[in-house]
């Protein structure tokens, strides 16, 4: 799957939108970076390969006033559906260029494999192998070994919503029951074990808010309750309880909204598995409301409805 067809589509799309958001190469071959295209000559910069990890749909709410074309992978496309459910974008002003995706790389995992040497070149071979050249030599990796965890249980390799598709659609071969296997496994541990685990993880948090800033569903951004004094839910102290509280707020604000794009975890400079908390809440929301975020534009997020009687929550019997 080369970027040629995608470039053709974008050339077309660019004629009636203000900007197209795609990927271009970053500072080395292992890093891609978002690019905003509004002139035809920029189209040549566009790339598509497993290093295109960012969720470009995240930019859409801030560009609500403009007509925007956006390149999305399967996982990213759920963001668009969730935005539609929550009324955060005007679908008629968004042109979605979908890419069926067979998996991306985790930059962190690749760097770990090559001992954080400077990257000279990255070549993706037809059989799925990756050749990484560094001053120390050449390393051959398999994509499956260096993909982020989300790829191993991906149910939506083909975007769930699109206007143009850059390649033939791919069907998922993954089992839906495996998606939350890690959550269920973790829940098997004792309360004490889980507490110790999270205390250790959150202790590393530096409250840089990268997870929040990268999150496509964190709509508040600069008005975030984590930095507000009125209401003053948490202070700026850098202690464990305040860090814990921040992550609890982030997770609960995403209950039944997280599209599991994994951006929070990808951008965390401290390698904290923050996505697990959101997955846990999604798992619960699925059990309580049979709701999966970002799949069907007609759905209503259960936390954004009000009904006196909730079917599965027995507060009082009528």
């Amino acid at each position: 799957m080369g970027p040629e067809k995608m470039k053709e589509i974008i050339t077309d799309v660019l004629k009636d939108v203000d900007v197209v958001i795609g990927y271009k190469q970053g500072f080395d071959k292992l890093h891609a970076t978002p690019c905003f295209i509004n002139k035809a000559e920029q189209i040549e910069e566009i790339i598509w390969s497993p290093v295109c990890v960012q969720n470009l749909a995240s930019f859409l709410p801030s560009l609500k006033a403009k007509k925007v074309g956006v390149v999305v992978k399967g996982c990213d496309s759920r963001t668009i559906v969730q935005y539609m459910q929550e009324g955060l974008i005007d679908r008629s002003k968004v042109v979605v260029v979908g890419i069926p995706c067979t998996g991306v790389v985790s930059v962190k995992k690749v760097l770990d494999k090559v001992n954080h040497q400077p990257i000279e070149d990255v070549v993706f071979e037809a059989d799925g192998a990756i050749l990484v050249k560094t001053p120390a030599g050449e390393t051959k990796l398999s994509l499956a070994d260096v993909s982020p965890d989300k790829c191993s249980t991906c149910l939506y390799p083909t975007p769930v919503v699109y206007d143009h598709l850059a390649a033939e659609p791919i069907k998922s071969v993954k089992a839906p029951e495996d998606v939350y296997k890690d959550v269920e496994e973790f829940e098997g541990k004792s309360l004490e074990e889980r507490k110790v685990y999270w205390e250790k993880e959150f202790d590393r948090c530096i409250r840089c808010y990268a997870c929040r800033n990268a999150c496509p569903m964190c709509v508040c951004q600069d008005s975030c309750i984590a930095e507000s004094r009125d209401p003053h839910w948490i202070s700026q102290k850098s202690n464990l309880s305040e860090k814990f509280m921040f992550h609890m707020i982030h997770s609960i604000h995403l209950a039944g909204r997280c599209v599991e794009c994994g951006e929070c975890e990808r951008v965390c400079p401290m390698g904290i598995p923050v996505n697990a908390l959101k997955k846990k809440l999604n798992h619960d929301m699925k059990a309580l409301y049979n709701y999966e975020p970002g799949v069907n534009p007609e759905d209503k997020p259960p936390m954004y409805t009000f009904s006196v009687e909730e079917k599965k929550i027995e507060e009082h019997k009528l």
Binding site: E86, G87, L88, V219, C220, Q221, S223, C224, I225, S228, D230, P231, H232, W233, H253, K300, M303, Y304, T305, F306, V308, L318
Partner: protein, 653 residues
């Protein structure tokens, strides 16, 4: 900040299990508390005076009263501090009675809990902001839900006082349960003879607008300004044209329709007028039985109707009415006979309920007042009454007494003797409850003058034997088993909440108990009010009660509405949601969750979209504040920071 703390003894209610002097002493150590004391009855006049004096003397600017539930006296103390010149929202109450002293005996633990509770209230009070009410106009119209005797009395009293009344009745006629009764205890006067004139008054009063066969579909608004949606259910008969001649009913070929008015004691026609005195006296089609609806052809009534009133295409209609207050008199239901497998669970035709027997006794009933067994239409000579069929029975989920069964059984036993002089009645009872004026004399008359045999004990089983029903029970006074071969058995089935009562309560935002009966504002002192301003209760919707009590409550509720409407303007509660436009990100999720439709979109200069709360529509429930991810929408008097101050206090070591 100078906080004054007043700890109430409430006689021994609080001081008995809490060391109030110690609580006051501890409060003096709390930063910000300028004055703390304990007093025997803070709500008494000298108690309130002490607060007023302390405010002046100690220059207090926040007041904490640790006493009973704020439901009881919050308003009292708000007025007190207002008289002393403080904003009424500078008062905070700590409920150390219902929440602490009444529920634990360990004085030390109670005292510690009280200290924490009062500290929390102090923290909240220090964060309280002055709030000011707005006044708004009252719509002096009243909605009465339910056209039984309680609802009719309320409607008539309101209308006679000059108020416009909207009366909504879900069945095709007003009258309710009382219209079905034959005679009433303890005077044995004819029920419909005393109710009929009231029904006519309701129909003819120019201040009363009656919606029969209608239900309250939706209620929006607040005290003084409610918008009511009323669903007029399709009757398939144009009531403007219908004269109530009854020709359709005579000719209707669907003769096996269930008779809701007669509780199924005999069938009726698919098109019917429920009873001769019905108000309005109009026909209605039951589409579950009508051949035109079931089979798609018939049309007999349409042909026979002299005014052409039949309309098979009729649809439900929604009507909107604006009112300022609501009286709920939605009545009661009866427990299903299916609950009693030991009594045949409704399988034996000659085991019937008290209300069905009432219809057999009634001259306008299906037997024209002759007592005839449903099975073979013969006159029963032995009639057994079983009281407490479901009532006072935890296994049925009905631990309460149904209030009036003892009395109506005695009445029915007397009437049975009147109708069939050679009959014998037996009454199985647990206790005879007859605490009304002339009531006990009445039950004695049933036994002494009319020879009803009262057996103290419960019935374990009823089974058929030939044409008879054998009633097996205990006689606990003799300590033996008894068996009576009866021709007819009458079960005094328990009173339950009306079907759909909880759903109506949710629409009205009033509380209901586990049985579905509506909860009054105070069991003694606010018997017809609810905790929702502008909504009042009357009759059995609040709990089982007899006719005099229901009528009394109807009048009482009407007088409450008159008092409410004596003012032209009401004060709004300022404890409503407020949007901080600087931090609102305009995601508008609050609009999606607001149960009252009180949040709307607003465009600021420069085009930025934010949420905006319509103060008078907001009920202050706080759903929006829980939804808002950035805390930009806050419930005044219950802001995040006010609650966090309390949480932080209790979490401090």
């Amino acid at each position: 900040m100078r906080v004054g703390v007043f700890i109430c003894h409430c006689g021994s209610n609080i001081a008995g299990t809490i060391d109030v002097a110690k609580v006051a002493a501890e409060m003096r150590k709390v930063p910000g508390v300028a004055f703390a004391t304990n007093y025997m009855y803070t709500c008494s006049e000298p108690g309130q005076d002490e607060i007023k004096e302390a405010i002046k003397r100690e220059k207090l600017n926040r007041i904490v009263v640790a006493a009973c539930s704020p439901r009881m006296h919050e308003l009292t103390f708000r007025r007190t501090i207002e008289k002393a010149g403080l904003n009424r929202y500078f008062l905070e109450m700590a409920n150390i009675r219902e929440h602490i002293s009444w529920i634990g005996l360990d004085k030390e633990a109670n005292t510690n809990k009280a200290i924490e509770s009062v500290k929390m209230a102090v923290a909240k009070a220090m964060n309280n902001k002055p709030l000011y009410s707005q006044s708004f106009k009252v719509n002096k119209r009243v909605l009465v839900i339910g056209g039984g005797v309680a609802g009719m009395q309320a409607a008539l009293d309101c209308a006679d006082g000059g108020l416009e009344v909207i009366l909504v009745e879900k069945s095709p006629s007003v009258g309710g349960m009382m219209a079905r009764l034959d005679k009433t205890f303890p005077t044995i006067d004819c029920s419909i003879c005393i109710l009929g004139p009231k029904m006519v008054d309701v129909a003819q009063h120019d201040k009363i607008k009656l919606y029969a066969y209608s239900e309250v579909d939706d209620i929006k608004g607040y005290v003084g300004n409610y918008q009511i949606k009323i669903k007029k259910k399709a009757t398939y008969v144009d009531w403007v044209k219908c004269t109530g001649c009854g020709a359709c009913m005579e000719k209707c070929p669907a003769k096996n329709s269930y008779d809701h008015f007669n509780f199924g004691v005999a069938p009726t026609r698919a098109i019917n007028i429920p009873f001769p005195q019905a108000i309005p006296k109009k026909a209605k089609i039951d589409p579950n039985y009508c051949r035109q609806f079931v089979k798609g052809k018939c049309g007999v009534c349409a042909k026979i109707c002299p005014t052409g009133a039949i309309n098979y295409e009729m649809q439900d209609e929604i009507i909107t009415e604006d009112v300022g207050a609501i009286i709920v008199a939605s009545g009661y239901g009866l427990v299903d006979m299916d609950k009693f497998p030991e009594y045949g669970a409704g399988r034996y035709p000659d085991v019937i309920t008290g209300i069905q027997y009432e219809r057999l006794l009634n001259a306008s009933g299906p037997t024209e007042g002759h007592i005839l067994r449903p099975s073979d239409k013969t006159e029963p000579k032995t009639v057994v009454f079983v009281s407490c069929a479901g009532s006072r029975d935890k296994s049925c989920g009905i631990p309460y007494c149904s209030n009036f069964c003892c009395m109506y059984i005695a009445k029915q036993a007397i009437l049975t003797k009147d109708h069939i002089p050679d009959s014998q009645s037996y009454v199985f009872y647990m206790d005879i409850r007859s605490p009304g004026k002339g009531y006990d004399e009445f039950t004695r008359r049933a036994q002494e003058d009319y020879g009803a045999k009262y057996v103290r004990g419960r019935v374990s089983r009823i089974y058929p034997k030939g044409k008879k029903m054998v009633v097996v029970g205990a006689d606990t006074l003799l300590g033996t088993q008894v068996e009576v071969e009866a021709d007819l058995v009458v079960l005094a089935t328990a009173v339950t909440a009306a079907p759909g009562a909880p759903q109506l309560a949710e629409k009205l935002h009033i509380s209901y108990d586990t049985f579905g009966f509506y909860v009054e504002g105070h069991p003694k002192l606010r018997p017809v009010e609810t905790n929702t301003a502008g909504v009042y209760l009357a009759g059995c919707a609040q709990g089982p009660k007899d006719i005099p009590a229901s009528v009394g409550q109807g009048s009482a509720a009407a007088s409450k509405v008159q008092a409410l409407f004596s003012k032209d303007m009401l004060e709004s509660d300022p404890a409503v949601a407020k949007v901080n436009e600087n931090t609102c990100v305009g995601c508008l999720k609050c609009i999606m969750t607001c149960p009252f439709g009180a949040v709307k979109e607003k465009e600021l200069r420069g085009g930025r979209i934010v949420a905006n709360v319509i103060e008078t529509v907001c009920a202050g429930c706080g759903v929006c504040t829980a939804t808002c991810p950035c805390g930009a929408i806050q419930l005044s008097h219950f802001t995040d920071n006010q609650l966090l101050a309390e949480v932080n206090t209790i979490c401090q070591k």
